[in-house]
Amino acid sequence: MEISRRQALGALAKGGIPLLASSTVGVTTCAASQLAIPLPSADAVAMLYDTTICTGCKACVSACAEANGLVPDTRLTGLHQSPLDLNAFTKNIIKLYDPVSGPQSFVKQQCMHCVDPACVAACPFEALFKRTKDGIVAWEPTKCIGCRYCEVACPYHVPKFEWAAQNPAIVKCEFCQHRLAVGEEPACTAVCPTDAVIFGPRSVLLAGAKARVEAAPGKYFENRVYGEHEAGGTQVLYLSHVPFEAIGLPTLAPDERPGRYLRWQSLIYKFFAFPVILYAIAARVMRQNFVEHQREVREEHEHSGMDPQL
């Protein structure tokens, strides 16, 4: 006997609607808190980099390599410390923006230590995590499976993978957390001779950056600080006299990533609410249909005399 599609849908609805109704209330209550973009912690540390001050001396590049025990990258030209981009030997780099016409600019690149990091949202086992007190995005080797999802997710293309290694690590700026632990500031800010990059609490540096913009209207691009709101805000702030896009700082809405796209994932899997509801409905319908199926199989057996198969 065939059960009509209508009856099957009816059974689905009977099992599903009470469950759906009760769980919707629960999910929406926690949705509000889950969907909000997180705020930077009160003790968030930060860097402020100003393109108008930087002379491109690259002292920060060498200091970074030394402080983090990185081998000097001479692979490209044989010159000391002259890679083209961040890589497995380079956590911090100074690049030159040299347009055909218009002003030149140096730019310092390292991890932005996002307030709402996409890499942390992507990492399956929290190997990349945001330290709750100072907001540093750090890497924990015992949790990393080397899936490289952080590289796919990061809007700034920061995390790098040790492709050549047998026990490959994820290499990225970790804000010299070992130096902060002993009361020193990060190697790059400590060594900078012109204070183009400075270290301090995020709230203080953000206010300072805004003061610089106010003091000289028109000097900085769009008269604003990059990193205040981009992708939920970053803990490395930029002031630039050239367009942000030109020096590799992408245009990102406050809720760009992971915010807008990925919050629902956490809602679904936080309490396993959605899978459990689906399973309850499926199991209910399955058990009913299985009894029916067994009866049909028995009839068939009596008809053909053949042992039934599942």
Binding site: I145, Q166, P308
Partner: protein
Amino acid sequence: VIVRWQRGVPVYGVPVVTGPFIATAAVAGLGVMLIIYRQIVGLGPTTGMTDAYPWGIWKTFNTMVLTALGSGSFAIGIAAWIFRKRTLHSIMRVALLISFLVYTAGLLALGVDVGRPWNFWNMLLPWRWNTHSPLWEVALCMPVYAFFPLLLENTPPMLERIYYLYPQSKAAIRRLVPTIRATYPWVVALAYVLPILHQSSLGALMLLAGSRVHPLWQSPLLPWLYVWAAAYIGVATVIVTLLLCFLAWKRPLDFEVLRSLAALTSGLTLGWVGIRLLDIIVRGQIVTAFAFDWYSLVFWTEMALIGGAGVALRRKPVVESGHSLFLISLATVIGGMIYRYAPPALAFSSKPLSFYSPTVVEILISLGFIALCHLGFLVAVKRLPILPAPVSEWDNLVDYYRYLYPWVQISRSDHATSEHRPGYAD
């Protein structure tokens, strides 16, 4: 002659080890050796992946694309068990076998791809799970699906072989039957929930890539389009497989079942194409589809294959000829694979702009996984009652086995000799 598929019957009278089998085994063996080589020397020397293209064909093709081919048991199972399409029960065994093999290979590919696989033990510590991460969801959900519901659903054919060929096991298997029967609906219900979760998560993986994925593919609906695509790719794969088996071993075809599979594929593809076009129009990206660049070429190829197949499968002459049904189903599979491959590869642009081309080692390992699936399928259908056939085929098989194993008594039914019937479903 109208053929009715009534039960699974092994392919008999054909040796397992043939020329093509040995060739496939050689490809698989080479793949396994290269996997060992990759584990020794690391990812850098063996693959073409870079920091700009961190995911190569193992993850993007073997896991993200090929597991869709194994979703037939999910879609057909829902039609058969939840919506009670009775005739589709006869092909569940084929669909389940394909699913198990393809998922196992996809998981192995994921294991070979990751750089620090020894840290997978973190999966055992739930407090280290990042429930935000689609990759965590995939890494948890896919093994659970492959090694719990799929493995269990694939045991009846194995038990059946043991039951008939090793009479001393009959009592033990009979004792097992009530347990299987009691747990079966609970396990099978799980088999319809888990694929929704991990197939949608495979799509969600690319949400985090943001603007690196071309706007024709980057959409909040990506997870749902991915799982939906998996459903019709899986069904079309089962059609293609059944028709290939017909070609290879002259298995009789039940066109009523094939027609309902074609109708299922057609409905799924046309609905999917509609939602996909609507999504592109609502997001205001339809203009980019007419840019006549690489991306619009990929987009229209995919749309033409999937939409065209969806329309063609509604036409009577198509579904009544095995030849055209095979070609159209194959077009559906290829179109669906292009869609699934686009976000992580075909429509993925790196920064700084660079190109990824898989190395020979990568391709050979990828082929090795496909060869392993193929070998598993060949052995299984020749040794286990998997492929559907009319009851008369079973009788022929029994005659053949009487000749092959004279000491084994296989009757049409044990009913006459025993109080209990040996079936698993009765």
